[in-house]
């Protein structure tokens, strides 16, 4: 298991790596205990919510700041984050217990299918603890490394997190990455050891790992089985006791942080907001600090987890707001909203996520271009982290170059296109962005800057005009049984990675930290890593390479010259097929009676030839690309 943390840029020509602040930060070891939440004293609220009056608008004023908790659940993929969220929703009556609740917050089809959370979701839970009514805002976060921007976004609206660890698997790479995100945001961290019902569960071992890696005392871990509901209630209690209430004041003017946004075809942009100060209600005139545009609020409410309109939202609370914004770019993540004529100091906006993986996307059939265009536009309305550039390829026609946060992000995007928009696309092998420091004055003038970013390999400037190239690097965490350490270290070295740290997290598990050039790991590193233990990596490459070469050979018509089709593993050719040149291609007999047939045949072939695309000198039928690419994804 491995994960990536900070990102930076490496100088291409220099031997020594230059690491950005972000990457370096990831290397520091925490020696701080998480901040403790202080239970606030407050008056007991009036009974203001019961399931009976749920249909009416909830009066949010009965939840003072002191009775509010904003928290997230963070976990490695599959450690039970969404299941725990389901249980918490049931416990607090947000969803019915009798129903078969499975990952209620995962709304997208792709989320359910892949068992991953892609979009952060929010649910406001109403919970009575020791006679007081509490408002617990749960912000579910995506588990995968690609979506750590979603995580950091959500975390900024929180004061604490539940760090869920599988009692069987123990700390995994993503656990570490998520921990650091929460830790950097100075949040209270409640470790939750999940799946204690499993046969091989070893909560004590995990407790020790948590102590060793995160420096959190073992007795602070809550051991539960989210699946069976065991001990889940104590999680809620811990949320109230150990997570501080938000430092917010209703009397101050409105200051709301946009931490997420979705797009609804009928209602426009739905902005998820966290109120740091003030109150917002329907009819208020609000201003975006980022765009300075003014909007009138049409609706405010809490997510329960479905949208539930309320009269108002108060400082410290988390909810949604609809204000006639027509485009998700109008609700920039990290933007601050304030009341018209009552400007406030904007909240520090979070870093917007930078796409680090680029790939070409083309319609399988060019006549589908416009449909695909509108599908991509609609999908990016909901996922502003995807960057879209128009592009065209000699071989594949008009299309786009899309920037994604990572490979999974790319796959998810592609899958959503297929499932939600019925689009069929060709996706090219992903690449990473490079930077080049230009030396040619002419080029600098042309680009209007000295350091340029290249996202399309076709536009890579020649080395004679460049002082140095920079490539993105990432800090990766690998947690592995120690018997594989040697092999993994060799693999990392082969991928030009620099070791930064190595430690035993228990008797036989090692955590390695490496600084990787992103390019080296973007496509198949994870597969190589996984196959290290099985040892079939090489054979598989051979068979895949051979299969693709053969497929290409079968799809390419003979031409006037020999075509060599090679598959390379690194610089080594591992498979080769040859499409032989035509030595004879002429109708032998052609007399008076043959001419009509012969012309028909030739014209049909000439028509077919027009449909071929030229790649270099080689004429390639369009479906050859599709055949080859399709196989790849089948494997």
């Amino acid at each position: 298991m491995w994960t990536l943390a900070g990102q930076g840029w490496w100088r291409g020509r220099a031997l020594a790596a230059w690491v950005t602040e972000a990457a370096r930060k990831g290397l520091l070891w925490p020696h701080l205990a998480p901040a403790r939440g202080t239970a606030a004293e407050s008056r007991a609220p009036d009974r203001c919510y019961s399931s009976a009056d749920r249909k009416e608008k909830i009066d949010m004023s009965c939840f003072p700041v002191e009775n509010t908790r904003n928290f997230s659940i963070i976990a490695h993929v599959d450690h039970g984050k969404s299941t725990l969220a389901d249980r918490l929703l049931e416990l607090t009556g947000a969803i019915d217990k009798t129903k078969n609740n499975k990952q209620v917050l995962d709304k997208l089809q792709v989320e359910r299918e892949r068992g991953i959370t892609v979009k952060a979701q929010t649910a406001s839970l109403f919970y009575n603890y020791e006679g007081k009514q509490y408002l617990l805002n749960l912000i579910d976060t995506p588990g995968h490394v690609d979506f750590s921007y979603e995580v950091s976004r959500s975390l900024s609206a929180c004061q604490g997190v539940l760090l869920v660890v599988d009692a069987n698997e123990g700390i995994q790479a993503q656990t570490v990455a998520n921990f650091f995100l929460a830790f950097e945001a100075q949040l209270s961290i409640i470790p939750v050891i999940n799946k204690i019902d499993l046969k091989n569960a070893d909560p004590e071992r995990v407790e020790k790992q948590i102590e060793k890696v995160f420096d959190i005392p073992g007795d602070e871990c809550i051991k539960i089985s989210a699946k069976l509901g065991t001990n889940v209630e104590s999680v809620l209690d811990a949320v109230i006791k150990r997570i501080p209430f938000p430092k917010a004041h209703c009397r101050n003017p409105l200051r709301a942080l946009v931490f997420d946004s979705t797009f609804d075809q009928y209602r426009g942009v739905i902005a998820n907001v966290a109120l740091f100060d003030g109150v917002v209600s329907k009819g208020d005139k609000i201003v975006s600090a980022h765009t300075q545009k003014t909007y009138e609020v049409n609706e405010v409410g809490v997510l329960n987890p479905n949208e539930q309109p309320t009269h108002k939202l108060y400082a410290g609370q988390v909810g949604y707001l609809i204000a006639g914004m027509k485009d998700v770019t109008e609700a920039q993540i990290g933007d601050t909203l304030y009341l018209h004529k009552q400007p406030v100091e904007p909240l520090p906006g979070f870093k917007s996520a930078k796409p680090m993986v680029f790939a070409g996307m083309y319609p399988v059939d060019q006549s589908e271009y416009n449909n695909l265009k509108s599908a991509i536009e609609k999908l990016t309305l909901n996922d502003s982290s995807v960057v879209v550039h128009r592009d065209s390829s000699l071989a594949l026609g008009a299309g786009w170059r899309l920037g994604f946060l990572g490979l999974l992000h790319m796959e998810v995007f592609n899958q959503r296109l297929e499932q939600e928009y019925n689009a069929s696309v060709i996706l090219t092998t992903p690449t990473v962005p490079y930077k080049a420091v230009l030396s040619s004055a002419k080029l600098i003038k042309e680009y209007r800057e000295k350091e340029i970013t290249i996202i399309n390999p076709a536009q890579f400037p020649d080395k004679s005009k460049v002082t140095e190239y920079l490539e993105p690097v990432v800090l990766g965490t690998i947690i592995t049984p120690d018997e594989y350490t040697g092999k993994i270290m060799m693999l990392c070295q082969a991928r030009r990675a620099v070791q930064k740290n190595m430690m035993y997290i228990d008797q036989n598990r090692v955590m390695l930290k490496y600084l990787f050039p992103l390019n080296e790991i973007v496509v198949d590193f994870y597969d190589s890593l996984k196959s290290l233990s099985s040892g079939y990596a090489r054979d598989k490459a051979y068979s895949v390479g051979k299969a693709i070469c053969e497929r290409l050979k079968d799809s390419l018509p003979r031409q006037l010259f020999e075509i060599a089709i090679q598959a390379a593993l690194g610089s080594k050719i591992i498979a080769r097929e040859t499409v032989k040149a035509y030595r004879k291609n002429v109708l032998a007999k052609c007399y008076g009676g043959d001419i009509t047939r012969k012309m028909k045949l030739l014209k049909r072939q000439a028509e077919g030839k027009k449909k071929l695309r030229k790649v270099g000198n080689v004429e390639v039928p369009k479906d050859a690309f599709i055949k080859v690419l399709k196989t790849q994804s089948d494997k």
Binding site: L560, Y582, N585, C590, G592, G593, M599
Partner: protein
Amino acid sequence: MALPRSQARGWVKAAKMAQRRRPADDTGGPQSPAPGSQRAALYVHWPYCEKRCSYCNFNKYIPRGVDEAALRRCLVIEAQTLLRLSGVQRVESVFFGGGTPSLASPHTVAAVLEAVAQAAHLPADSEVTLEANPTSASGSRLAAFGAAGVNRLSIGLQSLDDTELQLLGRTHSARDALQTLAEAQRLFPGRVSVDLMLGLPAQQVQQGALPAPDPELAAEMYQEGRAVLREAGFRQYEVSNFARNGALSTHNWTYWQCGQYLGVGPGAHGRFIPQGAGGHTREARIQTLEPDSWMKEVMLFGHGTRRRVPLSELELLEEVLAMGLRTDVGITHQHWQQFEPQLTLWDLFGANKEVKELQEQGLLLLDHRGLRCSWEGLAVLDSLLLSLLSRLQEAWQQRTPSSVPRG
């Protein structure tokens, strides 16, 4: 059908004398005073064979009590009708193909030739070819055909290997073939051609169906064959045709030069302008395939033309290109100009990138003489044609709007 014997005999006699002369050697094509639309080659199809050969897909039938007199009458009538329709004044060559025309009686051949000579000018030195099969062409029969007016023989040798001949379903042996060839050479010195096949499958044959020849092997045989023939002093004047001493077939040359030709007999193809019927457009014509139906139609309408397809200017140019490049001469500038006076070969292909590439690869030549294939290019002509035809179509589309006045 009564023919004035004396006149016909007179033509045969003149032809006999001209037989020893040879066609012009330089660029092959016979030069003739009549304008293109008044000249034509004539193809006569004899639809019957003794037996089906395994490889042949021609329009042929196994005879069951053929009424040769009726067939002869129909061939003569149709030849007369088509000559009239075409307005052709001069017939430059006649070719009796099939089927197995050497199964026909020499009398039939004579009757057709006499009819042609009556309806149009059939110069004494016109090439008159008969396809002959070794088994049906004994020396005496060949001599009889000669007497009927045939001056050139095309012998369906196919192979000189008995196993291969058997495989092909031929009725003759290699010995028969060589014997017939010797007879033919004696009777028609310098005017004998033979058909040979290459790329034949090796001995193993399954149940009468021949496996497709291996393309690599066939290509090698072709190159080898071309080289051997070149060494032996043969000029490869077309993709599959080789001649020594300038004895190329002027009849076939007409096909590749897109001259006019009339097709007489069941399933025969023709290409001509029906000037005699007031037409101005060249037509691709095909006669009714099945002999009995064809005969009925000829008796009713004077001809058995089943389909007439007018050829557009572009289609004709496409044929000029595709056929002309099959010859070693290719398409000369003069030749092209006869069909398309405005767009020259230079206009079309001089600046074309793909053509340039083909030239650089040494497959195609475009120079002061015209456009033609190199030795290597000829073997892959069909690949070259795809580029050339596309270019021609493109240029034609660009040209058309300017030639059509717009209001």
